[in-house]
Amino acid sequence: MAMVPLQAVFRGDCLTLLVPVDDQDRMDVVAQKVAHHVIHRRLPAQDAPMRVRYHDRVLPTHHTVAQAGLSPMSFVEVFYDVREREHPGMDRGSDPG
């Protein structure tokens, strides 16, 4: 268990945030931690799952920070996956979205 500070932006927001996560956090938790600083604050919530993109790759939800290879100050983008909402169950592990 180790804290990993990430640089993060939530798609649609215009500011990049420092978001501390744990290296054992899964990507759905990372997305929630980033969303906490944006959604209902500067952007409204959407009824769609959230995903994490890193280096043009959408990371599988079950991957942890350590498994995804995120290191301190890595830049990630979190976004609502509207297509996932419309077509649930599709694997988008490497889909640039």
Partner: protein, 497 residues
């Protein structure tokens, strides 16, 4: 005994240039302080300033200016002009004093360095006046802000800001160190006087003085006008220095100095002047939008000068022009949302009428920024003020030290690793500036670097506010106590049947 005309004695008295016999030229003008670009010493002696003034004339003029500006202050001291100023305008001037008063003193270093290490007597002579000017500008702005302390205690930040680790102060120190306190004489002439003073602040002060007068702040208008007349004179050290470099085959070096500081100056200008013009200045008193001002005054002048001098526009010109539409809006949103981290009360400036004005001046503003402000306003109306305050930091750029803005155009930050350290940049030009002289910039720690490296304790947002020197009483709040959000909420348009 008849007096000679100034033109009959001026050049003779001014041009105290000579060949050194007992010391080397490099001992008199060390490269680190002077940077002669390998141009032979006597070639510098053709440097000639466009604005000539004798010491006697200088003292006479300055004494008159001082008498004028202090008499206005005395006349207004017993009035309630400050109390009656618009809250948005107060935000602009409280921010201004913290940002500009101390750098005026710092500019004394740059002017004095040119006054000693400039390569021509004519240049050193002009820089001496510039040194005296900057001392005066510092003292004037400390004096004026101090006189208002009882009415606005945070004007203490006119002096305090630069002695803190507030994020904006860190950014400004970084900029001013690069531009003038840690710069050689030739680079200072180009980067401080040609780019920043001639290009940005001289025109900015003209506009600011007019806006102050329009808003009813006669005192501030008089102060800024008085300073601007000095700036217009001593800023003219840059052009003859540039002409000489170009004549001597050093155009590429001159262009690089311009390209570095134009970008840095633009970013500071967008952060400070953009929100002041488009959000803080009361709507009824806005004459030009920030973009219109940039196009009509700043960019036109730069274009004319680049053409006249045979220089190119900076290589990132298209990127710069695109940023006119959005950069300062991003900075404003960041400053307002992180308002507890600044020493003034930012005016949101997004009432229904103001949003209409913004959309008219910046078509597409609603699409880009409307949702953010609508979400914030809704939280205000529902009493969820906590949701209008941050719980974490903004990432800042390792060159300009400003909040990272690239997400606004859907671009990832630029990054590079050097000696095992990761550096993050808001834009390609900021990364390019860093790469021009990595050793110059690499050691600096941004506010985020300090947090991540454990320098800020406790490592949370309150710890950061304490680190930045901001007590609860000093932290910024909304200038109008959210009046803009509490006005009648927008209603959906009625559909005609």
């Amino acid at each position: 005994m008849p007096k000679l005309q100034r033109s009959q004695w001026y050049d003779l008295c001014r041009d105290m240039n000579w060949q050194f016999k007992y010391v080397t030229d490099d001992e008199v003008f060390p490269e680190a302080l002077s940077h002669g670009h390998g141009i032979r010493p006597a070639a510098w002696w053709s440097w000639d300033e466009p604005y000539k003034i004798s010491y006697g004339e200088y003292v006479h003029n300055q004494a008159e200016k001082e008498a004028g500006v202090y008499s206005v202050r005395s006349a207004l001291a017993r009035s309630r002009f400050f109390e009656n100023l618009d809250p948005g305008w107060k935000a602009a001037i409280v921010a201004h004093y913290g940002v500009f008063a101390m750098p005026e003193y710092l500019a004394t270093f740059g002017e004095a360095r040119m006054g000693r290490f400039g390569r021509a007597a004519a240049w050193r002579n002009m820089a001496l006046f510039g040194t005296l000017d900057e001392i005066r500008h510092g003292q004037l702005q400390f004096s004026f802000s101090h006189a208002l302390l009882k009415k606005e205690p945070r004007l203490d930040w006119a002096h305090k800001a630069f002695h803190t680790n507030q994020w904006g102060a860190i950014a400004l120190r970084n900029l001013f160190d690069d531009m003038l306190t840690a710069n050689d004489a030739v680079s200072t002439a180009i980067q401080l006087t040609f780019i920043i003073e001639t290009g940005f602040t001289n025109l900015h002060f003209l506009g600011l003085a007019a806006d102050a007068m329009e808003t009813g702040d006669v005192e501030f208008s008089t102060l800024i006008s008085s300073i601007q007349t000095d700036e217009a004179r001593h800023a003219q050290q840059g052009e003859p220095t540039l002409r000489l470099l170009i004549q001597q085959g050093k155009k590429a070096e001159a262009q690089r100095l311009i390209d570095v500081m134009f970008w840095r100056g633009w970013r500071a200008f967008a952060l400070l002047t953009g929100p002041s013009m488009d959000y803080y200045t009361p709507l009824a008193h806005r004459r030009l939008s920030f973009k219109e001002f940039m196009l009509e005054w700043i960019i036109k002048q730069f274009n004319d000068q680049f053409r006249d001098l045979g220089l190119e526009r900076p290589w990132y010109w298209d990127l710069f022009m695109d940023e006119l539409d959005w950069l300062h809006h991003v900075f404003h949103l960041g400053i307002w949302y992180w308002r507890s981290t600044v020493w003034w009360n930012p005016s949101a400036g997004v009432s229904a009428a103001e949003r209409e004005w913004l959309e008219a001046k910046y078509p597409g503003w609603h699409d880009r920024f409307g949702t953010h402000w609508k979400t914030i306003a809704e939280n205000v109306r529902q009493g969820n003020i906590a949701l209008t305050h941050p719980e974490t930091f903004l990432i800042v750029c390792n060159t300009c030290q400003h909040p990272l803005c690239c997400a606004a155009i859907g671009a990832p930050p630029q990054q590079l690793t050097r000696d095992g350290r990761l550096y993050t940049f808001c834009s390609a030009p900021c990364k390019w500036i860093f790469e021009q002289d990595p050793a110059r910039y690499a050691g600096h720690l941004s506010i985020v670097d300090r947090f991540v490296s454990g320098q800020i304790q406790p490592p949370d947002f309150d710890g950061a506010l304490a680190y930045m020197g901001l007590s609860a009483a000093e932290q910024g709040t909304d200038a109008t106590n959210y009046a803009w959000a509490l006005e009648q909420p927008e209603r959906p348009a009625t559909v005609a049947t």
